[in-house]
């Protein structure tokens, strides 16, 4: 049996990589959204673009900045090695 799901939306899924920008507004502003998975293997440059690797980003940080990052990561993952600076940071700009 095949039914045509007219007007029925399940969901859209896309991979967001380092340096990507996403804007939603207007009728789409109240969309239901989530981040169900972080791709841990993208830290070694396996992203689609060569310049979006985390290793390149963290290597540009000064030692003191790396220490801050490690300290923050340690708050949510105390057992993590201080050498592992795998992270995702997401900036959301909006009006109040």
């Amino acid at each position: 049996m095949w039914l045509t799901p007219v007007g029925f939306v399940v969901h859209v899924q896309v991979v967001l990589s380092s340096g990507d920008a996403l804007v939603f507004g207007g009728k789409a502003r109240d969309m239901v959204h989530s981040v169900p998975k972080i791709h841990p293997n993208t830290a070694d440059g396996s992203c689609s673009s060569g310049d979006t690797r985390v290793s390149g980003l963290t290597e540009l940080l000064a030692p003191a900045e790396k220490q801050k990052l490690a300290s923050l990561i340690g708050q949510i993952s105390p057992s993590r090695s201080q050498d592992t600076l795998s992270f995702r940071m997401n900036f959301n700009f909006r009006r109040k």
Partner: protein
Amino acid sequence: MKRKVAEVNLAEPNEKSSGGDPAQRLPGQPLLWPKGVVHMADFMPLEEQRGLLAAALRLGCATFGGFEVSHNERTKRMLMMHVGRRTQGPGRHPHAHVPLEWHTIAARVMAAARAQDASLPALDPIDVCVVNLYIAESRLSPHVDVLTIGDPAAPLVSLSLGLACDFCFQKNWGKKHKMHKVTWLLSVKMTLIFHCDSVLSWLPAIERLPKCG
């Protein structure tokens, strides 16, 4: 890694979206999004990403108002920082306003997005920036943002740095999209209509994780 999109019968598709094979699109070219959504891949050069990251680390390590652990039913193992949200009181960030450099980047993103989709309203003023810090085990469950009072259509600009992530959305929680309909479809094995991947990956979207720390 190939960027993928599993879209199903999107209502009101964005007329200027490229569609077709997502892997074939050029940097900055949007995927097939509904109206009001613009995705620009590789928008920020690495040096600009570094500047944003460094500033966020500087502000985020403030004694008050910096990054705070968020680990609850909606967020798992995340740190969050609100810049510009509280301008008074004990919870306010020492940097009460969005830094000028960040403001400039957000305005540039917004201009590029409006060039792609003219239906997007302007974002003015840009007075709040919520910064989320994830590790590989972090999750953000399905939710709808708290909308701007008096202007619920005001857009949100989201910039990503670091690890790649899956970002999912559906149009809304409205009557047409109740979850029990999805359950019913699953029960009569209709998932192929929507591509198994898209339906099955939504329902268990938030995995249970061992208790943090």
